[in-house]
Assembly symmetry: C2
Homo-oligomer: 406 residues x 2
């Protein structure tokens, strides 16, 4: 296997560090729009970096991406950029005949008239619209293969195969107790993407109703996270799992709730109330005359870079899938989860926990594709594949998962 990794930000860099310890692939090209970032990721691997090579790439330039795939004879493109580049990279991989893997799907657009009731363009719609072409070509696009979506979808499939006869509800629940020394407020992930996720109309699936949307921050609940994280307030958020799981797993209801906590929810509400979440530029006086800036970019510029906070971060992050249903005639409720302690990921990989947890899953998936344990054609989510081999390999990577009977 020869991989083109596009994006050498926090997640891309963690991918190189995890993959460097595994022999399943032959070559990995690390490409970024900033060649210094790609170079830094490869250099940091030291003696383990022999199979890696840094390149410059513009992720929006399909022809350039195609040329890079061809030049390095890559058979897989792993997309570790932000969701705005999903479609060009997805198309470039198809055109070059490469397998495509990403961790976030093509973007949604709210319903024009009833944004908080009906779906407009859904997450992944643009990709699934191309499923026929991928199938026909005998090619595979494995979409949403990070931690959430990704591992959370694997958990859903595992629950359906191994733990339940009938599933009432599958609810992905994500929470953390991370703090950052010296910062009262420092999100451990991109505020730009968090605003996008949290202020878009959350999507919910119900078997008798299909997909529909609600108002932001709907259905608040306090979920008790394992391994000492404890109770965190969670709310509905737009997320890929709600679009992926029902395509392959039978469940009456699918939700995604993000453990933002009360303070963070209030912060996002305030940003929205003040119009500071907007991406359309506003005109602001500047030292050399008026300038135009996107308020959301200004919010991001005022906060520290989450990828650079690892050293000063403490705590754990938990991704998982809560499932309620029936097994052998009796009601059952479980939470399948994966916890990463920031201290462990920093010591072992020099990566902060959230970023490492996202990155490990596509590497496990690539290894399963390389060994043939996973195979398929078309545009497929992680729940389209057998869950057992994935969970076993994840454990073999030194990062076990857990199951809590509720």
């Amino acid at each position: 296997m020869r991989v083109l990794l596009v994006g050498a930000g926090g997640v891309g860099t963690a991918v190189t560090r995890i993959a460097a310890r595994r022999p399943f692939f032959e070559h990995m090209v690390v490409a970024d729009h900033d060649p210094a970032r790609a170079e830094a990721a490869v250099t940091a691997l030291g003696a383990d970096g022999a199979r890696f090579r840094a390149e410059r790439v513009d992720a929006a330039d399909e022809d350039g991406v195609g040329a890079l795939l061809e030049r390095h004879r890559c058979d897989v493109l792993l997309n570790a950029t932000d969701p705005r580049f999903v479609m060009p990279l997805f198309r470039a991989a198809r055109d070059a005949g490469a397998t495509y893997v990403d961790m976030a799907m093509s973007l949604s657009r709210p319903h024009a008239e009833r944004p908080y009731e009906e779906c407009g363009v859904k997450l992944g719609d643009e990709q699934f619209a191309q499923a026929g072409a991928w199938e026909k070509a005998g090619a595979l696009a494995l979409v949403g293969m990070g931690v959430e979506p990704g591992l959370s979808d694997v958990f859903a499939r595992y629950a359906a195969d191994e733990l339940f006869d009938v599933i009432e509800e599958i609810g992905v629940r994500d929470g953390a107790n991370l703090t950052v020394d010296g910062h009262d407020f420092a999100p451990s992930f991109s505020i730009w993407t968090t605003i996008e996720e949290c202020l878009n109309p959350p999507v919910v699936y119900e078997a008798d109703r299909g997909w529909f949307t609600t108002a932001p921050f709907s259905e608040p609940e306090v979920f008790d996270f394992p391994e000492g994280i404890g109770p965190v307030e969670c709310v509905n958020v737009e997320h890929e799992e709600v679009l992926l799981v029902p395509r392959w797993v039978d469940a009456r209801r699918v939700t995604f709730k993000y453990g933002l906590g009360r303070e963070f929810i209030d912060t996002l509400r305030t940003l929205h109330l003040l119009g500071l979440d907007r991406t359309e530029p506003v005109t602001v006086p500047g030292p050399g005359g008026p300038v135009r800036v996107s308020p959301r970019d200004v919010v991001a510029a005022c906060l520290p870079d989450p990828a650079a906070l690892g050293e000063r971060m403490h705590g754990k992050t938990c991704a998982g899938t809560w499932v309620r249903g029936v097994k052998d005639g009796a009601p059952r409720e479980v939470y399948l989860y994966h916890v990463v302690d920031n201290q462990w990921s920093m010591t072992e990989y020099g990566c902060q926990a959230v970023v490492w947890q996202t990155a490990v899953n596509p590497v496990v998936a690539l290894e399963l594709l390389a060994t043939g344990a996973w195979s398929g054609t078309g545009v497929l989510g992680p729940e389209a594949f057998p869950a057992g081999p994935f969970l076993d390999l994840l454990t073999a990577y030194g990062s076990p998962w857990g199951l809590r009977e509720q």
Copy 2:
């Protein structure tokens, strides 16, 4: 009397409309850095505008202001700009031999080591440092002569002269029930100034301790405002009255609490937490490359212009002074207040309530100076003058005040 009014924003424009109905002055020059704004204020007066004349001025240019005072033979400078221009205008008036009147005092700077315990440079310190020069010249600077500071200080003097033998505490309390159609969040006053006021360390005076500071939003209390406004949560805020009142009125304690309400307090806290209250520029990506902007300017740019909201505003605003002490051996507690209904000020003057309430007080003061009912030399606050004539004239302007025994 010939007046140079500097600043034709919301308050300056309201000053022209109120003054136009009073015969006490001969000529008023309306000057603004934007000549169109000054022109618009004068044009709006129509047939009542004969005594007014629009000019362009840079409020930071002392020589230019001096030349304007001289050219129009003005004996009074009324400053209706934002507090950054207090010192140049104050100096320009002194140099030209004009009486100076403002509605906000020279800015404070927090204590370098203990900002939330000790005062650094206090509001007005720079102005009071020049008091000797004004006295020696037999000239008058009447500082803090808006509604708060201003009318609130007049109330304090009235309470001391007429209502109490001993005063325990004087607490200015400001609250409103204003709402704006079509906006979930639309402050009725400059967000830039509000952030400045509310996030600076609040100052408190105690007779046995002098002036000291606290953390922002300290000593929350719910104050019941009159005329249907009702209970509003108030917190300590840095304000001029705390610096002015103890110089002329004997009180054991002086505070200023702003009825921000819970939502507004939380909003300001969030802006502070995210660093969006900062005035130092941050670097932000722009369509034509990175640009530098002040986050606080971006917040202001995202919100509607408060001066333009009058038509869609509903409700009342209340400024007042609560006093607790002893009269004739018995405990007494009163609230002296002034309420403006937005509907009334819009109908009568085409000005929104907060702006009109600020503007009426300096006009009343100018009239008292013109008639000789008020006179003095040095740098003096409103409480340095007899309160009775002021309150009578305010009532004669069609805007009565109230007294509530608690």
